[in-house]
Point group: C2
Chain length 326, copies 2
């Protein structure tokens, strides 16, 4: 390869249960082009891989040529970086163990890396977001569930079996709320979307405080946040209780990992200061004293629409360049 | 330096509040010689460093010559590896910030590394103990307090400020027992020595169960273990409750770090199966489901008398060789 043909662009692919988004991203994190198709249209994994490869090739040809693409990074639920496989994903159409990384590499002829959402989100924050330049930090994804990944001395910590970061399934309340994972009292059951709604319903039952929440049939964190903005005291109390749990969980996480910062992403993070203020207060009350005042808790500043493909593209840079077509 | 003069021995120094132990250790972890003096005899730090340097030189000259010693590793409470300083040690004679690493290096003319007990114990387990060959593992020191250190992908995780591993000061019981650290409900307040004794006293008050513990003025974990061996049901219950808390705390730790193994050292670990069995049971009940059955919890198999200097000697190998006398 000639010196001036060094490849400075990668492809990031974010596989959601419903939609697959893919983009060409340059070395500075600029999204050159992006597009999507329905994941659910391809229940057969071979057809899915064909569609994905074809989509990437078409986009690359329209954007300066396929030979400018260095590698591909994929974010996918239940994906394990170490094996390159999707493993028993609950909500994807493909069951069992799917070696998606190898399958796509064979179609494309360039290096493909596969990781899960939490892992790649953290990579994206390090490469292009708040965590740029940090060596020890935690990135949390708070939405339907609570996933996380932490960096240790500059590299992502995966753990012995690739399961590290499961703060969502640590016990915050002995014999507390049942969690779909099978355990009881998990942090996720209190601070992720369904837990927040449950807290709202419990508060409405326990008190007579008037609240617009009482008139809404299907609550969600977004609606509760809007009611906070309107000054609804019970809605504010929902996030106060949530933050109390969340801050305690994060204090435990920080006392073990001693991060420079904790960066929060995900749908529920849009609650903003309604969640962040009580979280920080509870965090400072519970964290190991020597760390008090030293760990920054912040919201991600990456664009919501780009975060997932940026994370996937960051993963693409972590694999060695490889090409069948030299 | 000639090829055949490669230095294959180091010195490990363990500074305890009462006694300083030092030893020459070879590359395979054989303790060639060891000796000790009273830390408390040297309240002046300059005199202490002089005494330590002189002791090391004397021992080295008697054991093949000072020029065979590559470097020195020191274990000390409140020592921070990143700064090479002892920082505000509560129970040592020297107050404030003490740059002990640099001070001893200037006296000896060879490289000196300084770390805290938990950190070096983990290094020792990796180099010479149960953790040999492991990349992701946790080492806990359970005694007067509960310290820990974990390895991430083959290297020790220190954290942003060198405080990582403070599982002892994570909240296991909201608004629980006060801890000397200033927090409430810390794991250490339930599972370290004083906490175990407190549990024993609480059990004696809450029940009428006969127990030899009732006749003993000053209980400690060792006595309670001996009573377990005699079949004392209340003593056994003390460790059952302790293990219940400990297993829950370790499950949280493991769910975050996903280690291959958790290795337990320290005085309280001599309770053996009385503590280990209920700990493992509680651990399996609380750990993230995908890790269930995959994380080994084990007691250190290093010799008690050698563990601390071995850990310090392991640290000595982590610094680059350096000598004023070439």
């Amino acid at each position: 390869m000639e010196q001036n043909s060094i490849k400075k662009r990668v492809v990031g692919v974010d596989i959601g249960n419903a939609v697959t988004t893919y983009a060409i991203v340059d070395v500075r994190g600029n999204v050159i082009a992006h597009d999507h198709f329905l994941t659910t249209d391809y229940p057969n994994i071979n057809k899915y891989v064909e569609k994905l490869a074809e989509s990437i090739l078409t986009m690359a040809e329209a954007q300066g040529g396929y030979e400018t693409i260095r590698s591909v990074g994929i974010s996918c639920p239940s994906a394990t970086y170490t094996s390159g496989c999707i493993e028993n994903a609950a909500n994807l159409p493909w069951k069992g163990i799917v070696p998606l990384g190898a399958m796509l590499r064979d179609q494309l002829g360039i290096a493909v890396a596969l990781g899960n959402d939490a892992h790649n989100t953290a990579l994206g924050e390090k490469m292009y977001g708040c965590a740029h330049g940090m060596k020890n930090f935690i990135v949390l994804n708070l939405g339907i569930g609570l996933g996380s990944c932490f960096f240790s001395e500059g590299h992502e910590h995966l753990g012995a079996h690739g399961y590290a970061g499961e703060i969502g399934h640590t016990c915050i309340e002995e014999n507390g709320r049942p969690c779909p994972c099978g355990l009881k009292g998990c942090l996720e059951a209190y601070v992720a979307a369904a837990g927040i709604v449950q807290t709202a319903h419990e508060l409405m039952q326990q008190t007579d405080t008037p609240s617009k929440m009482r008139n809404i049939e299907t609550l969600n964190p977004k609606i509760i946040t809007e009611l906070c903005d309107e000054g609804d005291t019970l809605a504010i109390e929902v996030y106060r209780l949530t933050g109390n749990y969340f801050g305690r969980g994060l204090a435990t996480y920080a006392s073990i990992v001693n991060p420079e910062a904790i960066i929060i992403t995900g749908g529920v993070s849009h609650a903003g200061h309604w969640l962040l203020d009580p979280t920080c207060e509870s965090f400072e009350c519970h964290v190991f004293r020597n760390m008090s005042g030293k760990v920054r808790i912040m919201l991600s500043d990456l664009d919501d629409a780009e975060r997932d493909v940026l994370g996937a593209s960051a993963l693409a840079w972590t694999v060695p360049e490889y090409s069948l077509f030299k």
